[in-house]
């Protein structure tokens, strides 16, 4: 009964479904294009591809969303949808912070290595310069 009274809420017109599907396809095409142009590395693209696929499936089978909402015990399918998207984005943002932290540490180590390398080269060249000078004095 409850599902029946809600069914008008989740009923998508074929127009919205087509728009959603087109958007999902466009999004996946954009991801592909970014990879093709080397603007996005493959390992970062998987999650976005899955997201696009999810959008496509949602557009093709709107009943799925109702099932998920029922499983979550949420009356309003919209709320279920927004919660899922929000959690997904939250996880993704955290993942990016982790990646950024690792890269910050790598950049720091790189800067340290370069600084020490340059200092060492400088001290070597000044030693060699000193030798060259003393040699030229001898000759």
């Amino acid at each position: 009964m409850a599902a029946a009274s809600q069914s008008p809420k989740v009923h998508l017109t074929s127009q919205t479904r087509v728009i959603a599907a087109v958007l999902a396809l466009a999004f996946m095409a954009l991801v592909l294009e970014l990879i093709r142009r080397d603007r996005l590395q493959e390992r970062f693209s998987v999650v976005w591809f899955v997201a696009g696929l999810g959008m496509l499936i949602g557009a093709a089978f709107p009943g799925l969303l109702t099932l998920v909402a029922d499983a979550m015990g949420v009356r309003d399918t919209n709320v279920a949808l927004f919660s899922i998207v929000l959690l997904f984005l939250l996880g993704l943002a955290l993942n990016f912070s982790v990646t950024m932290s690792r890269q910050a540490a790598q950049i720091t180590r790189l800067a340290q290595e370069r600084a020490l390398e340059k200092a060492r080269a400088q001290s070597l060249s000044s030693e060699n310069g000193g030798e060259a000078k003393s040699k030229s004095l001898e000759s």
Binding site: A104, T108, A111, R114, A115, L116, K118, S123
Partner: protein
């Protein structure tokens, strides 16, 4: 003992040359390294002109990263002991030599110069901190003591001496954000002998403290988080003794 004295410096062109000269005079046998932390002024040139080896980080990375560079260099070049002091002239090199003495005598792995424990006195009388600074110091003292079960008075001191065990640890693990406090906690947790030695410190020659009340509050808050998280960190595998 082969000793490296390193000086982290960020825009300290006014004082760095004098500090180098002082260190040279006090510890003529020690090698000197200035870590220029992305200075935008003439710090690197002045240091080089004063005869120090200069490692310039390509951009400002923070004190922790600068200090770690020094520990890394000391470890790689096979120094048996190292020490560092601030470039603003508030740390007398003679006192740094005293810290190194403790390391040479193998009484401690890491020695901290504390401005508070004046010999025979509980508090230093030539050092008058502001109220916010005093609160911060108190909070950090309390929690660091709680975390390490060892009494520390000057938790943010930038004057330290260390042996190779500490170099190995700090060159791998040194927080860029909260270098001074977290490093003490880390060293104690790894079972290293950390000792505090009362030292005489001077008024800073140039520059001003970066602390405002709001910043202090944030600083303390961040420090507490770092300390709490630090208690749950896994121990380092390589630093057994």
């Amino acid at each position: 003992m082969r000793t490296l004295v390193f000086i982290p410096a960020w825009n300290e062109e006014d004082s760095v040359a004098a500090v180098i000269a002082d260190v040279r005079e006090c510890m003529p046998e020690a090698d000197l390294l200035v870590i220029d932390d992305g200075s935008t002024d003439a710090t690197a040139e002045r240091a080089r002109a004063a005869g120090a080896l200069v490692a310039s980080l390509p951009f400002n990375q923070g004190l922790g990263a600068a200090l770690q560079t020094g520990y890394l260099h000391a470890l790689r070049e096979g120094y048996e002991a190292c020490a560092h002091l601030d470039a603003d002239g508030q740390h007398p090199p003679a006192e740094v030599a005293r810290l190194l003495g403790e390391v040479y005598a193998d009484r401690a792995d890491l020695v901290i110069g504390s401005r508070y424990r004046d010999p025979g006195k509980a508090e230093s009388d030539d050092y008058k901190p502001t109220i916010s600074r005093r609160i911060g110091t108190g909070v950090f003292r309390f929690f660091l003591t709680l975390a390490t079960r060892q009494r520390f008075t000057d938790t943010t001191s930038g004057m330290r001496a260390a042996n190779r065990r500490v170099m190995a640890l700090f060159s791998e693990r040194y927080s860029p954000d909260f270098a001074e406090i977290e490093s003490l906690q880390l060293a104690v947790r790894e079972g290293l002998r950390v000792e505090e030695l009362p030292v005489r410190m001077l008024e800073r020659a140039g520059g001003t403290s970066f602390l405002t009340p709001l910043r202090s509050a944030f600083f303390i808050f961040k420090g507490l988080i770092v300390l709490v998280v630090g208690q749950f960190r896994p121990r380092h595998a390589g630093a057994e003794r």
